[in-house]
């Protein structure tokens, strides 16, 4: 094999989660009462639009979650097959042209010259000027050609998008005939919009740095795309810790009452009383020391960063289950007074069975709403935590580290704004789509459910 599959922990978990979701979708499609709220969700145009946008992010994130190591040339006399120490993903492979074309330092979006003046020689004479970029617009003989070249590339992108529009239109037409109640046209239009934005960027990216380059000359567009995976992981894997804890403890407290309730309430009041950032910071700092002490656990730097990411998710989950638990406790308290639970008691049905058959299925909608509502909050939290210094590994590219690095250059003149702009655009679209989708999910499942809100 020319490559060795090298799944990271988070890859495995992310794909398992994907599998679980697929299983859930399949199960829902067979049970009409489970499918009905989802059908309601997807009847809303906002939900359809957000699902398409979110789907694009997920596609990029998953392409970035298939990791492997490339085989190297067999060195003479060595044993076994040597593999490159660099761990790459399918997305890296697809974006090789962005990943490998490094400039020396900052350059503005679509620029042909570097941001900083340098001393270099032209025809033997020393000049101090902005040098041409190594890659950005390097093919242009005359820099005056640049606007026309850019326009041509955008035009080409839009032309391909127009071609795609025809295909999307046909598909929408067919889908609408099969499921008329779903707003396919809104989804199709969104997909077209995404393509109309992405294709010109794609064609530009072969020759230019669309979002410029950062301090070490790396393409900012590439960084932004890589950050997507981190956001998705933080937003989803955290719930793997959060959900079981919140569900089990919340439902048990509400159903059993008495000392079990007291104990669980004590636990979550105590955890809640520690300021969130400090608790996370303390936990992350401590795990940091553990990871540093056991360097021998990791064969590559990626593995190390990956474990740190996973630990961050676990810590976020451990510190944020209390909201869900409180919500479910209240709901279970209400449910346990309901007559069908009392009827079950009258039949002598065991507690575990009442919990699994009567209570859990009737709080499932709250869990689903909580899961989609938490997502955006977690993505935003990552940025803040990375800024505080207790987020992802500093070597990992995430929205937080991008903002953090760019912030330090705020004072430069002219201002280096493109890293921030890229992080802002990609993050805003992701979080906005997630928020709007969460609203649609809540409206479809149970508009009365209110997630907690802490002012200021």
């Amino acid at each position: 094999m020319p490559f060795l599959p090298f799944p990271l922990f988070t890859d495995v978990l992310l794909w398992l989660l994907m599998g679980a979701i697929a299983l859930y979708v399949w199960y829902c499609s067979r049970k009409p009462h489970l499918g009905a709220p989802w059908a309601r969700v997807f009847q809303s145009r906002t939900a359809a639009i957000c699902a398409v946008v979110f789907g694009c992010y997920v596609a990029i994130g998953f392409a970035d979650s298939l990791h492997f190591r490339v085989r190297l040339q067999q060195a003479a006399g060595s044993e076994g097959t040597p593999y490159s120490p660099a761990v790459l993903s399918v997305l890296d492979l697809a974006l090789t042209h962005l990943r490998e074309r490094r400039e020396r330092t900052y350059s503005a979006p679509l620029a042909t010259r570097l941001y900083a003046k340098e001393q270099f020689e032209i025809d033997g004479k020393p000049v101090r000027d902005f040098p041409r970029l190594r890659y950005g617009g390097a093919r242009l003989q005359d820099e005056a050609e640049r606007p026309r070249d850019i326009a041509a590339r955008i035009g080409l992108g839009l032309f391909v998008a127009a071609f795609a529009a025809v295909l999307i239109g046909l598909a929408v037409k067919r889908l609408r005939r099969r499921r008329p109640q779903i707003p396919w046209s809104a989804g199709g239009a969104t997909l077209l919009g995404v393509l109309a934005a992405a294709l010109p960027v794609l064609f530009l990216s072969f020759e230019y740095h669309v979002f410029g380059t950062d301090k070490v000359g790396q393409d900012v567009l590439y960084q932004a795309l890589k950050s997507i995976r981190i956001s998705l992981i933080i937003g989803t894997l955290t719930t793997l810790v959060l959900l079981p804890l919140g569900m089990a403890l919340g439902v048990m407290a509400g159903y059993f009452k008495g000392w079990i309730d007291d104990a669980i309430q004590y636990l979550y009041t105590t955890l809640n009383s520690i300021p969130g950032v400090l608790l996370i910071a303390a936990a992350v700092l401590m795990m940091q020391v553990v990871i540093d002490r056991h360097a021998e656990w990791f064969s590559t730097a990626e593995q190390r960063a990956d474990l740190r990411l996973l630990v961050l998710c676990a810590i976020l989950g451990l510190t944020s289950w209390t909201g869900l638990a409180r919500l479910l406790r209240g709901e279970a308290l209400k449910l346990s007074q309901l007559e069908y639970i009392q009827a079950a008691h009258a039949f002598g049905v065991a507690d575990t069975r009442i919990l699994t058959r009567h209570i859990l299925p009737n709080v499932a909608h709250i869990v689903i709403i909580a899961m989609v509502m938490d997502f955006s909050g977690l993505v935003l939290a990552e940025a803040v935590l990375s800024y505080v210094g207790v987020g992802v590994d500093p070597a990992t590219t995430s929205f937080g580290t991008m903002i953090n690095a760019a912030r330090l250059e705020m004072g430069r003149e002219p201002i280096v704004w493109w890293s921030l702009a890229a992080a802002f655009v990609f993050m805003f679209v992701l979080v906005l789509a997630a928020n709007l989708f969460a609203d649609a999910v809540r409206d479809g499942f149970d508009p009365r459910v209110r997630m907690g809100f802490v002012p200021a």
Partner: protein
């Protein structure tokens, strides 16, 4: 006399996800000064929507699409919103069903009455307060000065409704609309409120539009009556004419479905099927599908209002042939209920049952006292018989029922069921005995798990209690049971939300029956149902008792149901049984003053 309010061809629709619902369809009537006009109908008939349309206070999904509401020459539907506001509260006032939510919880009672006067009159603050106190006294609130300063939660339900009425009368409106004003209240309080309304009507000469589902209230209060069905008025008449000889088959059925001692011998009349969905446009009689007098013409042509007799109109083709005969008022005399097994053995023997809930206060949450929900209740119940446990809310009747089933632990006393003392048994020891005693609840929506199919709901108890050798035997038994409670076999694969309230109650009955109980505690099983559906459930319970010899402990506040179904009755008041005996004796010749008061308060149709 000139009408105070004239409604003509009123049409109101609600926009719902399932389409446009024609909630009020071509409704018209007049309201005369000094008159009580009752709008009667079952849930969903459009009677409340009619009232809200008059006030132009529809929910956001609703809108008035046509018609006239004429208040003494003023067309209310044509008024701008600002002008309409000076009609509301000033010329037409309204009171609502649930006094505990209809008052603002954070404003004092007095403030909420004074604000009406502030809005519509020039009275000074002191004058307004004096008038408010006067009003409070006139609606029969004792200690008005104190009540004026209090908040709604400090008042009982009856006092709250009186305060609501005081607010509504603050500026002497010409018309008062009362939307089920006593439905949320106990029957003795209901009698007081109705008495108050009747007195105010006499004294003030205003017009009262009374919306109700209770024919007994109609008989007590109304001068004229309109019956609503599926959004339209199907009959309109003077009260006496209506009570004597209802002209529309639906009105006739409503009377026939009422349980009463005289019907004990036979079954109650039922109305088959359900109200048709109002999203459709009707071209035929809306009642035709459920009417046992319907003929071909009813299914192709919508009937117009016909004058069956002078002043009595009915929307029925049959009335072309002349008026209907008077309602049969004496169908047999009081009859005893036949019992399948005659005098059975004593199945349940309760001795001095007590359930006390501790009140905890203070630093260490020490128990400082007890709420004596059930305070020394004793009775016996024989196999195959029905004991009705009657009482008002808070009398402890439901707690008694649950304590007997050991769903609530009794504080003291003895519960002997089939010669076994239950109170001393552990949870595990009670479990095998649970199949012999079951319970049916009040709320048909809360008593079935919405996430389980009917089959799973019915199987759960059988599995838990080990009824039936295997799954096949259980399924066979369940299929038979469904037939017995009158549900189709395909119901097994469906979820509760696909059934109507009456059907759900049948499922709940089947669930209890599945484990072959000897005793069923029926906790107000029909009080959430419309009268026509209630009749179906009562018939079913009675038939099951006669066939299977089950004993019922029937918990209810509805005396009519007791008269129809029970052999014996026990009247509960403040956690104690104040009177207990044979149903004819207790209801015919009550000995205890509370029983007498209770019986006197029940509005009856005869």
């Amino acid at each position: 006399m000139k009408p105070a309010l004239r409604i003509h061809a009123l049409n109101t629709v609600l926009d719902t996800p399932r389409g446009m619902v024609r909630a009020v369809d071509d409704v018209g009537f007049e309201l005369r000064p000094g008159e009580c006009f009752a709008l009667v109908g079952e849930s969903g008939s459009g009677k409340s929507m009619t009232a809200l349309s008059i006030m132009r206070l529809l929910p956001e999904a609703g809108r008035i699409v046509g018609g006239e509401v004429d208040l003494d020459g003023l067309d209310l539907l044509g008024l701008p919103e600002a002008a309409m506001r000076s009609v509301r509260g000033r010329r037409i006032a309204m009171i609502f069903q649930e006094p505990s939510t209809a008052l603002n919880p954070v404003l004092s009672v007095g403030r909420q009455i004074v604000e009406v006067m502030e809005r519509h009159t020039e009275l000074s603050r002191e004058e307004a307060k004096r008038k408010a106190l006067e009003l409070l006294r006139s609606v029969g609130i004792p200690d008005a000065e104190r009540r004026f300063e209090q908040y709604p939660f400090e008042l009982s339900g009856g006092l709250k409704q009186r305060a609501m009425i005081a607010g509504a009368l603050a500026v002497d409106p010409e018309v008062l609309i009362a939307d089920e004003p006593t439905t949320a209240l106990d029957v003795t309080i209901q009698a007081q409120i109705l008495e108050l309304l009747a007195r105010l009507l006499r004294e003030r000469g205003m017009a009262l539009l009374l919306i109700t589902h209770d024919l007994g209230i109609v008989a007590r209060m109304a001068h004229r009556v309109a019956v609503m069905y599926a959004g339209e008025i199907v009959e309109i008449a003077e009260r006496e004419a209506f009570m004597r000889a209802p002209q529309h088959p639906y009105s006739q059925k409503l009377f026939a479905a009422l349980p009463s001692p005289r019907r004990r011998a036979g079954e109650l009349a039922v109305i088959q099927g359900q109200v048709p969905p109002l999203t459709q446009e009707f071209r035929a009689c809306r009642f035709a599908e459920r009417c046992d007098q319907a003929f071909d013409r009813c299914r192709i042509e919508a009937p117009a209002m016909l004058e069956a007799r002078p002043g009595q109109l009915a929307r029925c083709h049959l009335r072309e042939a002349g008026p209907a005969a008077p309602r049969a008022q004496s169908l047999g005399s009081h009859e005893s209920i036949k019992t399948a097994s005659g005098e059975g053995n004593v199945l349940l023997r309760i001795r001095d049952l007590q359930v006390h809930f501790p009140i905890r206060r203070g630093l260490l949450k020490r128990t400082v006292g007890y709420v004596r929900a059930v305070d020394g209740v004793s009775f016996e119940l024989r196999a195959g018989r029905t004991l009705a446990l009657v009482g008002e809310s808070g009398s402890g009747k439901t707690t008694t029922g649950k304590a007997i089933l050991q769903l609530i632990a009794p504080t003291a006393g003895s519960v002997r069921f089939a010669d076994t003392e239950l109170t001393t048994l552990s949870r595990a020891e009670i479990r095998p005995r649970r199949s012999a005693m079951q319970i049916i609840f009040q709320d048909p929506y809360g008593s079935l798990n919405p996430r389980m199919r009917v089959l799973e709901i019915l199987l759960e108890g059988m599995r838990s209690l080990g009824i039936g050798r295997d799954e096949a035997e259980r399924t066979a038994r369940i299929t038979r049971l469904l037939g017995e409670v009158g549900l189709p076999a395909e119901a097994l694969g469906r979820y509760p939300h696909e059934f109507s309230g009456g059907q759900r109650q049948r499922i709940a009955i089947a669930r209890a029956l599945a484990v072959e109980p000897k005793l069923i505690v029926c906790d107000e099983p029909t009080s959430a149902l419309d009268v026509s559906v209630q009749a179906q459930i009562l018939n079913l319970l009675r038939a099951l008792q006669q066939r299977l010899g089950i004993a019922y402990l029937f918990i209810t506040h509805n005396i009519a149901v007791v008269e129809y179904l029970a052999h014996e009755v026990a009247v509960m008041y403040q956690g104690k049984i104040v009177e207990h005996g044979d149903v004819d004796r207790v209801l015919g010749a009550p000995a205890h003053p509370y029983t007498r008061e209770l019986l006197a308060a029940v509005p009856t149709i005869d």
